[in-house]
Subunit: 147 residues, 2 copies
């Protein structure tokens, strides 16, 4: 199951790449079923907040706290401060991360709050990001808030 | 200046209330000028991510990391985990909070990362939220992720 859902997150990342965006994808899963999916839309939507995880959460609709607390989230890249904050807000208890070599987000904070993290060290996730950053270093740094 | 900008955040909160939403407002200020304003849109947009601070950041457009790091953000209510995460992502160095009696967000985390917090203990901010929660306890708990 873990790889099935990560595959879907990767498909989202690829969709983002094809539409000119940063290849990061995410799916929100509840009781073994995808309830929200999304990808980074910074470039496509000129959005400062639609990271992949945020997009997946948003696309799950306006759900109750109970609903989110029964979800786990899959993301192709280690979640940044904003996305980690959303995970904490909604009590999402498990985060499955494609890779954390390109970028390490707030993994320590999430763990300290009792969130279960699994890092898959997925080669495809790494290759996608390496390719994008090589060609669009400026866009990547703009997104992740580095100078 | 601090009260002028908080007044604008309150105007945003009131705008949100008039459109049936949760009365929390925010403005993003750079070099003494408002560059983004917004309010909580959970109810109006059925949005899980458009808290006031997120809306203000989003409405400032897709800016560079440099741009955000020169901003301060005004919010009528102490920022939750998600909004605090966005503040950390973008290196916003100062947060001016209308009140933190109704809800205390990630103030400790923000302070531990060097963000300057000012709590105004504003009576109007408290009255707005107290009135809303009294009439819509379910909507408030749905938004803030409590059960």
């Amino acid at each position: 199951m873990m790889n099935t859902f990560m595959k879907q997150a990767i498909l989202e990342a690829e969709k983002g790449l094809r539409s000119g965006g940063i290849p990061i994808g995410s799916v929100l899963v509840r009781h073994g079923k995808i309830v929200g999916r999304g990808h980074n839309r910074r470039i496509q939507n000129d959005s400062a907040i639609l990271h992949a995880e945020m997009d997946a959460i948003e696309n799950s609709g306006r759900q109750t706290a109970d609903f989110y607390s029964e979800c786990e989230i899959y993301t192709t890249l280690s979640p940044c401060s904003m996305c980690s904050g959303a995970i904490l807000l909604y009590g999402i208890k498990k985060v499955i991360i494609g890779e954390n070599e390109t970028f390490v987000g707030e993994e320590e904070l999430l763990r300290s709050r009792g969130v279960d993290l699994v890092v898959l060290n997925n080669a495809q996730c790494k290759t996608m990001m390496a390719g994008f950053i090589k060609n669009h270093y400026d866009l990547w740094n703009e997104d992740i808030g580095e100078e």
